[in-house]
């Protein structure tokens, strides 16, 4: 299966960056919670890597033949989880499968990118605004279902993915901006009819931290800021952060793992980590630029957007500049679903690099 592909095309740099993330993740999940969580995380990393290489061996064009099937399957799972899911902290997001729980919305993100890219790859022209109708429907259904769980964070992450994919697919800018306009106009509707009180509270808590009364959010933000702020240049050292070791930060091995890293590792190393994320995005979009297959490039754009949104929202939340949502930090936060979905997304990105026809630069051609 690997026969036809050139292993030299495998993106070693990206893989190396991921390895750095995974190592960091293991040690800081350990620091933020304990050995059992860390070893579980190790298991997830192992499962993720296996899945990653297994998926690499299959041509993404073959996989994406079933994109729509996957999409409807994921929709079905989302409906099912609403009906029969396990309730944790008041929302139904998880399926309990004995030992671990599965979060279908994580997988929805993946198949959403696949389905949307597949649909758009057949289109060449975008003359009419109504060409966007099907993509819109493809987006709105999962958003509604996930928001119903209620998991606003994951549902809204589909929006940037939607916009970047249609943007990269070549939609007219006029259409794009009018779409954004319509979206803005519908915000009041969202506010009054869809958002739950605690979600409004979090938005308030984010906008006016000083005078908000919902402490569920303001408290998290403040504790996280204290943790990050006390890290300083060099950090307090692994396993000795005052804030994190005394459990002042909520959900610190999952959502708030970056505040633990920032407190214990300090500005230089946390900054390096952010730099690595930047490099990761750079490499990813580089693949999209070189790919000649429309679907492949849209897939890559979608997944890179997914990663960067998660990175921005998650780290922004620990730094107090974005609202608190349940979005995880890819390859870093503790948790099986998040780890697996990140690996699946990564495998598609690398897959596109391995298999789609590549534009060769002049130097490379000269070389041949």
């Amino acid at each position: 299966m690997f026969g036809k592909i050139n292993l030299r095309k495998f993106d070693w740099l990206m893989f190396f960056i991921i390895c750095v993330f995974l190592t960091t993740s293991f040690f800081f999940v350990w620091s933020a919670s304990d050995k059992t969580f860390a070893s579980k995380q190790l298991v997830w990393i192992g499962v993720g890597l296996t899945l990653f290489f297994a998926l690499l061996s299959i041509d993404y064009k073959k996989t994406s033949k079933y994109s729509y099937v996957f999409y409807f399957l994921a929709l079905f799972l989302l409906v099912l989880v609403l009906l029969a899911g396990k309730k944790i902290h008041g929302s139904r997001r998880w399926f309990s499968l004995g030992m671990f729980s599965l979060q279908p919305s994580e997988f929805m993100k993946i198949v959403y990118v696949l389905a949307l890219s597949k649909y758009l790859s057949f289109k060449k022209e975008y003359d009419s605004f109504f060409d966007l109708l099907v993509p819109l429907i493809l987006t709105i259904i999962p958003i509604t279902l996930i928001a119903k769980q209620p998991d606003l964070g994951t549902s809204l992450i589909l929006l940037p993915m939607f916009f970047t994919i249609i943007f990269a697919a070549g939609i007219r800018l006029v259409h794009l901006f009018s779409l954004i306009g319509i979206g803005m106009a519908s915000i009041p509707l969202l506010w009054f009819f869809i958002l739950k009180d605690y979600q409004k509270g979090r938005i308030f808590g984010f906008l006016w931290p000083a005078q908000n009364s919902d402490w569920g959010a303001g408290y998290h933000r403040m504790q996280s800021l204290i943790a990050v702020g006390s890290g300083g240049f060099f950090g307090s050292g692994w396993g000795s952060g005052v804030q994190s070791q005394l459990n002042f930060i909520p959900e610190q091995h999952t959502d708030f793992i970056f505040s633990v890293i920032a407190e214990e590792m300090g500005f230089f190393r946390a900054c390096t980590l952010l730099g690595l994320y930047m490099l990761f995005v750079f490499c990813g979009l580089g693949i999209a630029l070189k790919s000649r297959d429309t679907m492949g490039r849209l897939i890559v754009v979608g997944f890179i957007t997914m990663f960067s949104t998660q990175i921005f929202v998650n780290i922004g939340m620990t730094l107090g500049i974005s609202p608190i949502t349940g979005l995880t930090l890819p390859f870093m936060s503790y948790g099986g679903s998040s780890m697996l979905s990140s690996f699946i997304a990564l495998s598609f990105i690398i897959n596109v690099r391995l298999r789609s026809k590549i534009f060769f630069s002049r130097e490379e051609l000269m070389h041949k």
Binding site: S33, D34, K86, I88, H89, G90, T164, F167, A168, G170, Y198, S213, D214, W215, G216, Y219, M222, Q223, L225, I226, A227, V228, G229, S230, G231, G232, F233, V242, Q243, L246, N247, F248, P250, A262, E263, G266, F267, A270, C271, L274, Y277, M278, V281, F282, L285, A288, L289, R292, T294, R297, V301, I304, T305, S308, I311, F312, I315, L319, G320, I321
Partner: protein
């Protein structure tokens, strides 16, 4: 291809990540001093603010349940341990070691003059005297040591538990002047600490204790169900309470070592020092309307210095929201009367408005006192008469002849019999031996359905039951709500047992309310209400309305008349005529309730033991325009239904219709 667009995208993302880097640098470098101070020696402490639990009123505005504060004397564990070591000889292994180690510590009286003085004071305050106080101390020490042992065993090393450094309630509920005494002498007794605890107070003691229920402190694993913002406990709320968690939970344990606490899942509680003292209803209306009564606890966030736990400044305060008041349809005065009328008999009285299902009285005997529930608990459990059983809802018994009403309604409505049809009663049924006998040895002769109800003729209903058949009988029983929950808003109702008779033998038995049939008094009352109001269904309920703390009505229960019509009017009229005759000339004649215009039906459920019946009387009054329907039920009485229930009904009627008492007095002379 849109390479330019992808490049734009790339620059946007890189710009966003750069924002993160700048922000990170800003917080970590420029604001470092601001935050690191907080992190080093200051903490944000979270203190809960109790919410006032709502009151419970009866329909006339009498307060049935309210709040008060109890003052408990709490003493440091170290002092308790000292007192224990000084007096007790038998020790746990660990304490033995401790005693050897601290021999001088304990035996030196001079060094402990202060502690001795303190305990002398405590003995003075305590109601139970020296020995009682010591028993309390002993149980506390034992419990703490047990927890310590179990936690240490689990962790494999010795650990200081939170219990060891906290205060323990030694003397509970002390009088106010004693509080003043202690507070004045505060400097002399640094180890003593008077704590104010919210507690529930039921001014009338055991009055309507089954309706009201009792309260207890919310447990860790229940917290999520209440929908507050913050669970002060960080425990697994999915209900897995196994392997000794109970013990841990019982003590509301926190462990001094942060890492250990994390494993126990109680870290946040530990770090905030939250005791989680919120009352929740366990039974009765307290439980059913718990969420309304509860309110919402508030929180205060203040900055504290770690060493001294001194509050530097209050950062933010979210005030608590008082709970809503519950107004019951129950009439406290009538309830009291019914309970008095029941006296020492084991049984129940239910009075309901047949027009809308409002429960006016729901008395059960024996009762418990919710004020002293915890203290009496072991005694209550030992009581063979089961005071915890809410008999109107949970005491399911064979209904006896009262169930003949259902059989008669079914047969009339299905057209199996007519009101003119006569059946011959010869005192027993046909050739079958004496198994199916009638109440009258010589029989009632040729009788109609009205007379059969009047004299409670078994033979008539054997015949009707046979004709009706098990399917139709079951259908009508279900229509009247037997075998299902009546849906009354008091928890833990039982639905009884509605059998499907398989043989004609069984069918004949259940037709007169014997056999395996089990019903609760509320179900019988509902049946009577349906007859009394002319045939429509009612939903028994006890909530009249909900008001907020300022008395504004938040919710009013729907007291519209009329539900789904179940029994045709013509059938109801026949039954009513029969029931009126029961009191004027039938099985319940001459028991002194004729002047109240009562119509009703007696029922004597015979159980195997001879001379041990369950007596029932269910009826409504006045029969021309029913305002009340009621059921009186007495367990295990040697008398027949009419005699056993008569004294209760007389008193009850006098309470329900005071204007007719004079008439009754006149007539009985």
């Amino acid at each position: 291809m849109h390479n330019r667009r992808i490049k734009i995208l790339l620059s946007i993302i890189i710009a966003l990540i750069s924002v993160l880097i700048f922000r990170l640098g800003y917080i970590q470098i420029f604001e470092n001093s601001k935050y690191s101070g907080i992190s080093e020696d200051r903490r944000i402490k979270r203190t809960p603010i109790d919410a006032l639990r709502g009151k419970i009123y009866d329909r006339t505005g009498v307060v049935l349940a309210t709040n008060r504060h109890t003052f408990n004397v709490a003493v440091k564990y170290n002092d308790l341990l000292y007192y224990y070591l000084k007096r007790e000889d038998k020790f746990f292994p660990r304490l033995l070691k401790l005693k050897a180690h601290k021999k001088d510590f304990v035996s030196c009286d001079e060094c402990h003059a202060k502690e001795d003085e303190m305990f002398a004071k405590l003995i003075d305050i305590s109601v139970s005297g020296e020995d009682g106080l010591f028993e309390t101390v002993k149980s506390i020490v034992k419990r703490v040591e047990r927890i310590k042992e179990s936690v240490s065993k689990r962790k494999g090393k010795e650990i200081r538990v939170l219990e060891e450094i906290s205060f323990h309630h030694v003397v509970k509920d002390i009088a106010f002047d004693k509080v003043a005494e202690l507070e004045v002498d505060k400097k002399r007794f640094p180890g003593i600490h008077v704590e104010v605890m919210p507690s529930r107070w039921y001014p009338y003691g055991s009055l309507a204790s089954h309706i009201l229920g009792y309260t207890d402190v919310i447990r860790c694993y229940e917290w999520d169900g209440y929908g507050f913002n913050n669970n002060p406990f960080d425990c697994d709320t999915d209900g897995d309470q196994d392997d000794g968690e109970e013990l841990v939970d019982e003590a509301l344990i926190g462990v001094c070592d942060g890492m250990e606490a994390k494993k126990l899942g109680l870290n946040r509680m530990f770090s905030s020092g939250y005791g989680g003292y919120v009352l929740a209803g366990r039974t009765g209306v307290e439980a059913y309307y718990n969420l309304s009564l509860l309110g919402k606890p508030g929180e205060r966030f203040s900055e504290v210095t770690v060493g001294s736990s001194k509050i530097d400044k209050v950062i933010i305060e979210q005030p608590s929201k008082a709970g809503e008041n519950i107004v019951l349809t129950m009439d406290g005065g009538l309830q009291l009367l019914a309970e008095k009328a029941l006296g020492d008999r084991t049984g129940s009285v239910v009075v309901m408005d047949p027009r809308n299902g409002e429960i006016i009285v729901m008395a059960s005997n024996p009762r418990f006192d919710p004020n002293t529930f915890k203290e009496d608990f072991s005694e209550i459990l030992k009581n063979k008469r089961k005071p915890l059983l809410n008999r109107p809802l949970q005491g399911t018994l064979p209904p006896g002849s009262t169930f003949k009403i259902v059989t008669a309604v079914g047969a009339l409505a299905e057209g199996v019999i007519s009101d003119k049809m006569l059946v011959k009663c010869s005192g027993r049924l046909g050739s079958e031996r004496n198994r199916f006998r009638c109440s009258s040895k010589y029989g009632h002769g040729m009788i109609s359905v009205e007379e059969a109800l009047e004299h409670s003729c078994n033979v008539y209903f054997y015949e009707v039951g046979k004709r009706l058949g098990s399917r139709l009988w079951r259908k009508w029983s279900e229509k009247f709500g037997f075998g299902t929950y009546s849906g009354v808003d008091v928890p833990y109702e039982r639905k009884g047992l509605l059998p499907t008779p398989a043989s004609s033998f069984e069918m004949m038995n259940v037709a007169i309310g014997q056999g395996s049939l089990l019903v609760s008094p509320i179900q019988i009352t509902r049946m009577m209400a349906i007859i009394a109001n002319g045939g429509y269904d009612v939903a028994p309920h006890i909530l009249r309305g909900v008001t907020d703390y300022s008395g504004r009505v938040v919710l009013k229960s729907n007291d519209k008349n009329g539900g789904e019509s179940i029994v045709p009017g013509s059938v109801v009229d026949v039954i009513k005529r029969g029931l009126v005759k029961v009191v004027t000339s039938g099985t319940a004649r001459n028991i002194g309730i004729e002047n109240y215009l009562v119509a009703g039906k007696t029922g004597t459920a015979e159980i195997r033991k001879e001379g041990n019946n369950h007596a029932w009387f269910t009826g409504f009054a006045p029969y021309d325009n029913p305002r009340y329907c009621f059921t009186v039920q007495v367990e295990n009485t040697p008398e027949h239904a009419a005699e056993a229930t008569a004294p209760i009904i007389q008193l009850l009627m006098a309470g329900l219709f005071p204007e007719k008492r004079e008439l009754t007095a006149k007539n009985s002379w």
